[in-house]
Symmetry: C2
Subunit: 342 residues, 2 copies
DNA sequence: TTGAAAGCGCTAACAG
DNA sequence: CTGTTAGCGCTTTCAA
């Protein structure tokens, strides 16, 4: 109806600004700010009502860019993952988005495709966009965060096993997780346990390999065959083929990711072998895929939601001046059928 | 070394702005803009070099918020999906991010969790953030886009089978895709083909159900049993259990998503039946999961990358004044082993 | 309790 | 070819 009446305050042509609201409500723009933000000044109830009305009638929506410019904060977090279509990262992203949204932050997502140049480009891009924090699952152990530092933007490194000094980081106890899985396999009586190890760029040995070795050593067992390949389904598939062809074929295999585990299952099935009858399998991550493979995979679950929340909290904390720290989360063994349990 | 020398141009304390660069290079701020944006005015090569130097030395990064405020464009696209951890959407998101990045847009991701209220909140939030376009895989057939319309922000509806007038939309030919899959199953000699149908809120019958029925009718075959359940792994699992227990147990089942297909496989395996020996299976989507299930699923592939590109292009086109349209993409049958092919 | 006004960093019209 | 300058919409200090 408003558009049909002649009014002292005509509907503005373009997008509605705070000025339009002020004019419509007969107050100053400052007052509009006060009611929109609930402060920093108190507003008389009657005035507030007028303003709320004007906002509703005009369909006013604050301009986030202007706010970001003024405040130097975009209420936005950036997330860089190698590949969002990797189930682990998509699960993680969802959890991060939830945690961010709960705090009023939007999430800008970018994929690095495991490509260092792209990762750096993404970091810079996020820095330029004045995000309030960046979560980075880096290709590297100590990534180049200079763009963020000079812009004073906090960051958290994801999937970080070790403490990278000066970095906020979060990770899971890889070695402990791998160990419980391998110990469980040993408990089933296996004495020749192979490893389908994912490859990463970081120089040092992955904790999952360490854990596998520890479990074997402690049980006085020799090391089974190892195959290094990508942390992916095809990677696991290839590793499976190689492991099955090795001179001393293992009776059980630990895969360092669910994706590899699934690839492994395919290789084993194709070879006409049964799981867990001929070969038992356990993997790492605890993604939904592992529950619906055949047979369902016994896997080491990462506490994704807790890690996401902690990562977001670390970002928010960092902007409040808390100092960088490294947080390690425990894992939990999910026993299903691929290990030989009924 | 710059920090060690006394200079007429001290390093600025806070973040470096265009003003600092101008001062350092001994030019005006306008000139800095011209070189940063490559226009709209030409700059003498020598001057440009000085500016580029200053930018490098100072580590200058343009403030996106200020730019967005000035230009009324954030160079950002919004994407709302029900659940990023659904492999179809994560694949799609990756493709969207690629397409967006190629055009210089960042991507803000949000999950609606299939929840209408959350979807609306996300739409509004994106509108307030002045994104330049929104891609929405809605819960509804005709979602509430008012917040976007009043802000003059273009949008594209994803996964939209039919033309919703006035909306930009993109979808796949569901019925045709389902038909080729079911026809393929028929070609294997199956005469009792069941349907594991995903449930959605839209009132009308899903094209995949239509296609299944069409193929059957054209072949003069009776309709097999149907089970309605969620488009998820658990959904497919339950559908599988029900279908296997039905009075006239089908010899083949068409699942309307890969996730359902995978759940279905689990139900069949648990029942001690073999695929495709006892029951053949085909599904829909063409996600990576379908390739590594056991047996690998014959599936109807959606051209995700092409759709993502078209969706982003539609957004950009819309802001150039192109009128809304509905784009349908063809599917392609990926033959693997679950249907009975060798 | 409310208002006026100074910018946040950037772009681009306009003037030189 | 380069510089000056007026805002974009918002927050917040300072004054009334």
């Amino acid at each position: 109806m408003y558009s049909m009446t002649t009014s002292a305050v005509p509907a503005p042509r373009g997008p509605v600004t705070r000025k339009d609201v002020a004019r419509f409500a007969g107050v100053s723009t400052a007052v509009v700010s006060y009611v929109v933000n609930g402060g920093p000044k108190k507003v008389a109830p009657a005035t507030e009502a007028k303003v709320q009305d004007a906002i509703r009638v005009l369909g006013y929506r604050p301009n986030a860019a202007a706010r970001a410019l003024k405040l130097g904060s975009s209420e936005t977090l950036g997330l860089i993952v190698p590949d969002i279509s990797n189930p682990f990262f998509s699960l993680f992203s969802h959890a991060v988005e939830d945690a961010a949204a709960a705090l009023g932050y939007a999430l800008v997502l970018s994929n690095s495709d495991g490509n260092l140049a792209k990762e750096r480009r993404n970091v810079r891009n996020l820095a330029a966009r004045q995000v309030d924090g960046v979560l980075l699952a880096s290709v590297l152990f100590e990534p180049d965060l200079e763009a963020l530092e000079t812009a004073d933007i906090p960051s958290v490194l994801l999937n970080q096993e070790r403490d990278a000094p000066g970095f906020n980081s979060i990770g899971v106890d890889l070695a402990a997780g791998a160990r419980i899985a391998v110990e469980h396999l040993i408990g089933h009586g296996h004495a020749n346990i192979g490893l389908a190890m994912g490859t990463n760029v970081s120089g040092s040995t992955d904790g999952r390999e360490v854990g596998w070795r520890q479990a074997l050593q402690e049980a006085g067992l020799p090391e089974g065959p190892i195959s290094y390949s990508a942390f992916t389904r095809p990677g696991g598939y290839v590793a499976g083929q190689r492991l099955l062809a090795s001179v001393n074929r293992p009776t059980a295999i630990f895969a360092t990711s669910d994706m590899q585990g699934i690839g492994l299952l395919r290789a084993i099935h194709e070879a006409g072998l049964s799981v867990p009858g001929d070969i038992a399998v356990a993997s790492f991550d605890g993604s939904a895929d592992s529950e619906y493979s055949w047979p369902p995979l016994t896997t080491v679950e990462q506490p994704v939601a807790a890690m996401a929340e902690a990562a977001v909290a670390a970002l928010v904390g960092a902007s409040r001046g808390e100092k960088p720290r490294h947080r390690i989360f425990p894992t939990k063994l999910h026993i299903r059928q691929s290990c030989g349990c009924p």
